[in-house]
């Protein structure tokens, strides 16, 4: 069964890199959806069912922490694994994300191997 993924990041460059890493990873990749921020992610999730979300924290309109809170409050989405991929290195913000239910955290800059390793642990 293939895995549909949503990548949420305000940088098109990072979305492109993460897409490439996912294609290299040992996951049965299905469709890869992209969103610029948390608001757009929630809109996409109204029409698409995904099995994994990779999300940045610092984004305009709705940041990754608020997105995480909304996903975990939604019965239909709360079980979707979420990996935070972000420049945010503040211990407090990272802990906040993990306490809200993020399944993992990778700090930018990252290597493909770091992402793949986290995905292996989550999926």
């Amino acid at each position: 069964m293939s895995l549909d993924v949503l990548i949420v990041d305000d940088s098109a460059a990072i979305r492109k890199i993460l897409h490439r890493v996912l294609m290299q990873a040992e996951v049965p990749l299905g469709k890869v959806h992209e969103a610029n921020d948390g608001m757009e992610a929630l809109e996409k999730l109204k029409g698409e069912k995904v099995g994994l979300i990779l999300s940045d924290i610092n984004m305009p309109n709705m940041d990754g922490i608020e997105l995480l809170g909304k996903l975990k409050a939604d019965a239909a989405l709360k079980s979707v694994p979420i990996l935070m991929v972000t420049t945010e290195g503040s211990h407090a913000r990272v802990m906040q994300a993990l306490e809200l239910g993020a399944n993992g955290y990778v700090r930018k800059p990252f290597t493909a191997e770091q992402i793949k390793e986290k995905l292996t642990g989550i999926l």
């Binding site: 940088s11 460059a13 490439r20 305009p60 503040s90 800059p109």
Partner: protein, 178 residues
């Protein structure tokens, strides 16, 4: 929490953060050149400048200046696709490189200064222009050489006015030394 930061401390943070981004995301070699300090209003510049703001009890800006050819090379290395001229992809890659480097300097600074916030990056491309950041009058500049070209990473940081007042109320002396 510290109340002062020396220019060479900031230069070391810039070197560490830049080296990590070049090793992990760009896979390019990087030579760090001696850092220096300079006032605001740098010389007129041709090329790409990416800026990220710092906010909180300390305020400032990080700035990466590179010639257009180097901005294209960095985008190529990051995206693994050919980039022959400045376009939206190159500007977006430049923004993200600045976000990662300045963001990681911010994380290092937080160990000394407490929580800080990061703005979204701004990228400017053009010829014969200057950048100016209000109230920022003394920049730490770290030049680097990569792919046979030079880029500068500059950083300016000072206590926020409210933090100075707060410190004064608590009879703390704020020393701002660059």
């Amino acid at each position: 929490m510290t109340t002062s930061l020396a220019s060479h401390d900031i230069a070391e943070m810039i070197r560490g953060a830049t080296s990590e981004v070049f090793q992990t995301m760009l896979n390019l070699s990087l030579e760090s050149l001696p850092s220096h300090e300079e006032p605001d209003l740098p010389e007129p510049f041709d090329g790409v400048v990416s800026m990220v703001g710092i906010g909180g009890t300390w305020i400032g800006t990080g700035r990466i200046s590179s010639p257009p050819e180097l901005a294209c090379k960095l985008a190529e290395a990051m995206l693994l696709t050919p980039c022959s001229a400045i376009n939206a992809e190159v500007l977006d890659a430049s923004a993200e490189i600045a976000n990662m480097i300045i963001g990681n300097v911010k994380t290092m600074l937080e160990e000394k200064l407490g929580p800080l916030a990061l703005s979204v990056p701004t990228v400017i491309f053009g010829r014969n222009y200057r950048t100016h950041c209000s109230g920022m009058d003394n920049w730490t500049v770290v030049p680097f050489r990569t792919e046979g070209m030079k880029m500068d990473i500059s950083f300016c940081l000072k206590p926020a006015r409210s933090a100075v007042y707060s410190h004064a109320n608590h009879r703390l002396e704020t020393v701002h030394s660059f």
